[in-house]
C-alpha cells in the first residue's frame, strides 16, 4: 500500500484509535451527566455522523485496534474540518484529547511531537526562532508559514495539474474561437463585395470587421464568464458534498476573468484581421460568385 509515512509524528496513531471507533466505540452512557473520573474529548463531526455518535455519548479509547477495553471519554464537542486542500482527500478522522490522556493511552510518556509557539508580535519572531533553536539539541523551530509550504506539496501538484489542463483547454478554445470567427466573417462576403463596389476602402472594411469581431469576442467572453461562474458554483457544490468540506475547489477571480476576456478579445481581433484581409484581397465580383 502507499505508505503515508510522516517521520516521527505519532499523532497519526490517533487515527488508529478513531478508525477503529466504529468497532470499538461502545456507547455505554448517553445520559448528559458523567462520572467525575471520565475525561472529555472533541470528535471529528464526520466520525460522529458515520459512527452514530452524538454529543454527550461515552466512547472507549485505546491504542490497540480491536481492543474492547480502554479508557472511557465523553464526547463534549464536535470538530469541523478546515478547508485544507492537503487534507480533503484523506478520509481519516480527527479528535482532540487532553494531552496527558493521549500520552498515557499511547504510552508516550512525557513526550510530544511538536510545540506551537505564539509570539507577541511578528517583529519578535526571528529572535524567538533563534532562541528556541539555540536552547537545546534535538529539535528545530520553523515559522508556521514554512511548514504550510512544505506540507502543501499535494496541493501544489494538484494546482500544476489543473493548470496543465487549463493550458490544453485554452489551446482548444483558441482554435474554436478562431474557427468560428472566420466562419462568421466569411458569411459576410457578399456584404463586403457590395461595400467594395460602392467604393468603400479596404482599410475601412478591415477596421470595421476587426471592431465587430472584437465586440463579438468581448460579448462572448462576458457570457462565458457568467457561464463559468455558474459552472464553478456547481463544481464547488458537488465536490464540497463529496468530500464534506467547505474548501472552494474552483474560484472565478478578477484575474482569471481579466485574463480570459483579454485572451478572447485578442484572438477575436486577430481572427477578424486575418479574415478581413483575406476577403478584401479577393476581387469583389469573385466574392459575388461571378
Amino acid at each position: 500500500m502507499i505508505p503515508a509515512w510522516r517521520g516521527g509524528l505519532r499523532g497519526a496513531a490517533l487515527g488508529v484509535l478513531l478508525l477503529s471507533a466504529p468497532a470499538a466505540a461502545q456507547v455505554i452512557d448517553s445520559a448528559p451527566t458523567r462520572p467525575a473520573a471520565v475525561r472529555t474529548i472533541a470528535l471529528d463531526a464526520r466520525l460522529a455522523t458515520d459512527a452514530g455518535v452524538a454529543l454527550g455519548d461515552t466512547v472507549r479509547l485505546s491504542a490497540i485496534p480491536g481492543d474492547s477495553l480502554g479508557e472511557r471519554a465523553v464526547v463534549s464537542a464536535l470538530l469541523g474540518r478546515r478547508a485544507d486542500p492537503s487534507e480533503i482527500a484523506r478520509q481519516e478522522y480527527r479528535a482532540r484529547l487532553h494531552l496527558d490522556q493521549l500520552q498515557r493511552i499511547i504510552g508516550y510518556g512525557d513526550r510530544v511531537d511538536r510545540f506551537a509557539v505564539l509570539s507577541r508580535g511578528p517583529e519578535q519572531r526571528r529572535t524567538l526562532l533563534d532562541a528556541i533553536n539555540g536552547a537545546a539539541f534535538g529539535f528545530k523551530a520553523w515559522p508556521s508559514a514554512d511548514i504550510a509550504v512544505r506540507t502543501s506539496r499535494t496541493f501544489q501538484v494538484v494546482r500544476r495539474f489543473n493548470r496543465a489542463i487549463g493550458v490544453i483547454t485554452i489551446v482548444a478554445s483558441a482554435a474554436f474561437l478562431l474557427c468560428i470567427l472566420l466562419l462568421k466573417i466569411d458569411e459576410r462576403r457578399r456584404d463586403v463585395a457590395a461595400l467594395r463596389m460602392m467604393g468603400i476602402s479596404a482599410g475601412t472594411i478591415v477596421k470595421s470587421v476587426v471592431l465587430e469581431a472584437g465586440i463579438i469576442a468581448l460579448l462572448g467572453s462576458v457570457a462565458g464568464v457568467g457561464f463559468g461562474i455558474v459552472v464553478a458554483a456547481i463544481v464547488n457544490w458537488h465536490f464540497q458534498g463529496v468530500y464534506r468540506t467547505t474548501l472552494a475547489f474552483t474560484l472565478v477571480t478578477p484575474t482569471t476573468v481579466v485574463f480570459a476576456c483579454l485572451l478572447s478579445v485578442l484572438l477575436g481581433v486577430v481572427a477578424g484581421w486575418v479574415a478581413a484581409r483575406r476577403l478584401v484581397r479577393v476581387p469583389a465580383l469573385q466574392l459575388l460568385g461571378r
Partner: protein, 396 residues
C-alpha cells in the same frame, strides 16, 4: 459518393477546416486523457498491488497498510494461524520503521526501512547484487545509495528508534550492503532499505518485538479470495483483512477527485467539440442552401442530403479524433510527469495507462458527437422550401 462529397465540402474552406480539426484534435486529446485517467488508475493500481501475486493485505484493525504507525502484535502466531487456513499459499509479514545512518559526507540520512523475509517478500525486486542472505545483510534503493554515498559491499552502521533530543537509539547494528533493489510501493525519491524482519524487530526494542506493520497474503490459484479474506478476518479481532477490491476502493476514494475531474473535463471537452462541429456544419450548410435546394430540385432525397451533411460531421470529427489520439498520448506523458510528483507515490504507480479500449471509447464518443452535430442543421437545410430557396439564392 457521400464520403467524397463530404471531404470535398470540407476541403473547399481549408482554413476553417484546419482550425476546426485542431480544436477537435485538442478536445479529443483531452477526452482521451480523461478516459485514461478515469479507467487507468483503478486497473493500474490493481495490477500494481498484484505485482508479486499477493491478493490480500492484513493491517491493524481499521487502518490501511502503512496509513499510521499502528502495528500488529503477536505476528509469529498470527502468521502461523493464517498459513494454516485452507486456500492460503504464502504469508509475508512486513515491518516498517525509520533508520538513521551517517553518510560519507558526515550527514545523517533517514531511511524508510522494511523488515521482511526474503523468501516470501513481495515488496521489491533485486536490480543488482545479491539478496538478503543473513542478519547482517541489507538491500537498498538507488536513492539511499546516492544520499549515503555507499555502494554494494560497504559496511554501514544503522540505528533505529532515534531520539533527537536525548541522542539515543533503541538499536544499532552494522550491516553489509548486499544488493540494490527497486521497491514497488515506495516513492523512488525516498531513501529505502530492506533487512530481515527479526533483525528490525530486535533493533526496535520492546516496542517492536514480534510486531509487524502489515501481512501480505497469497491465496492459492483455485481459492475463493473472498472466502480466504473472511477466514483471515476471523483469526483475530485486532486486524483488518483487505482484498484487492477493498484496497482499490479505499485508494479510489483518496484519488477520487481526479476521477471526478476526469469525468467533468471529459464531458466538457466532448460538449465543446459537439458545439464547434454543429456551428461549423450549420454555417457551411447555410452557405450552401442554394446548392442543397438544387439537389432537392433534381431529385436528391432529403435523407441523402442529411446523410451527406452528417458524413461531413463524421469525417471532421473522425480525422480530428485520430490526430487527437496521438496528441493525447503526448499530453498524457506531460500530465503523468506532473502527477508523479505526489508525495509518497510509489515509483511503479501510473495515473495514465493507455489501453486500446480507451482510444476506442474516445473515438466512439466523438464519432457519435460528430453525427449528432450534423443531424439538426442538415435536416433543417434539407427541409427548406425548394422554390423559395432557389428564388432567394437567385436574387442574392
Amino acid at each position: 459518393m457521400p464520403v467524397r462529397l463530404a471531404i470535398l465540402a470540407l476541403v473547399r474552406h481549408k482554413a476553417r477546416t484546419l482550425l476546426a480539426l485542431l480544436g477537435i484534435a485538442v478536445s479529443a486529446a483531452l477526452l482521451l486523457d480523461m478516459v485514461m485517467l478515469a479507467s487507468g488508475m483503478k486497473e493500474n493500481f490493481q495490477g500494481f498491488l498484484m505485482l508479486r501475486g499477493y491478493q490480500l493485505r492484513v493491517a491493524p484493525k481499521g487502518t490501511l497498510p502503512f496509513d499510521s504507525d499502528a502495528t500488529i502484535d503477536s505476528t509469529a502466531s498470527l502468521v502461523a494461524a493464517i498459513r494454516r487456513l485452507p486456500g492460503v499459499s504464502a504469508v509475508s509479514p512486513v515491518l516498517g520503521a525509520q533508520s538513521q545512518t551517517t553518510s560519507t559526507r558526515d550527514s545523517t540520512i533517514t531511511a524508510f526501512t522494511l523488515g521482511i523475509f526474503p523468501d516470501v517478500q513481495g515488496d521489491y525486486e533485486l536490480v543488482r547484487g545479491s539478496d538478503l542472505t543473513d542478519s547482517t545483510s541489507l538491500v537498498a534503493n538507488e536513492r539511499w545509495l546516492s544520499e549515503t554515498g555507499r555502494a554494494i559491499g560497504d559496511t554501514v552502521t544503522l540505528a533505529v528508534g532515534y531520539d533527537p533530543q536525548l541522542r539515543t537509539v533503541l538499536g544499532q547494528r552494522r550491516f553489509v550492503v548486499r544488493g540494490v533493489a527497486r521497491f514497488f510501493y515506495i516513492a523512488a525519491t525516498q531513501p529505502t532499505i530492506g533487512m530481515t524482519l527479526p533483525v528490525l524487530q530486535a533493533m526496535g526494542g520492546s516496542g517492536r518485538r514480534d510486531r509487524s506493520s502489515l501481512l501480505m497474503v497469497k491465496a492459492a490459484d483455485s481459492a475463493d479470495i473472498e472466502a480466504v479474506r473472511s477466514a483471515i478476518q476471523r483469526v483475530s479481532p485486532r486486524i483488518s483483512a483487505i482484498s484487492l477490491e477493498g484496497a482499490t476502493e479505499a485508494v479510489e476514494q483518496r484519488l477520487g477527485y481526479f476521477k471526478q475531474l476526469a469525468l467533468v473535463l471529459g464531458s466538457i471537452s466532448l460538449a465543446v467539440g459537439v458545439l464547434l462541429v454543429t456551428t461549423l456544419i450549420t454555417i457551411g450548410v447555410n452557405e450552401r442552401a442554394g446548392e442543397i435546394a438544387v439537389l432537392r430540385a433534381i431529385g436528391v432525397a432529403r435523407t441523402s442530403i442529411v446523410g451527406q451533411v452528417v458524413m461531413e460531421g463524421i469525417v471532421l470529427t473522425g480525422i480530428g479524433a485520430l490526430s487527437g489520439i496521438l496528441i493525447g498520448l503526448v499530453t498524457a506523458q506531460w500530465l503523468e510527469r506532473i502527477l508523479s510528483d505526489f508525495p509518497g507515490l510509489p515509483a511503479t504507480f501510473r495515473f495514465f495507462v493507455f489501453q486500446p479500449r480507451d482510444a476506442g471509447i474516445a473515438l466512439a464518443l466523438l464519432a457519435a458527437a460528430g453525427m449528432l452535430a450534423g443531424i439538426y442543421p442538415a435536416w433543417r437545410a434539407a427541409s427548406l422550401p425548394i422554390a423559395g430557396t432557389l428564388r432567394r439564392e437567385a436574387v442574392a
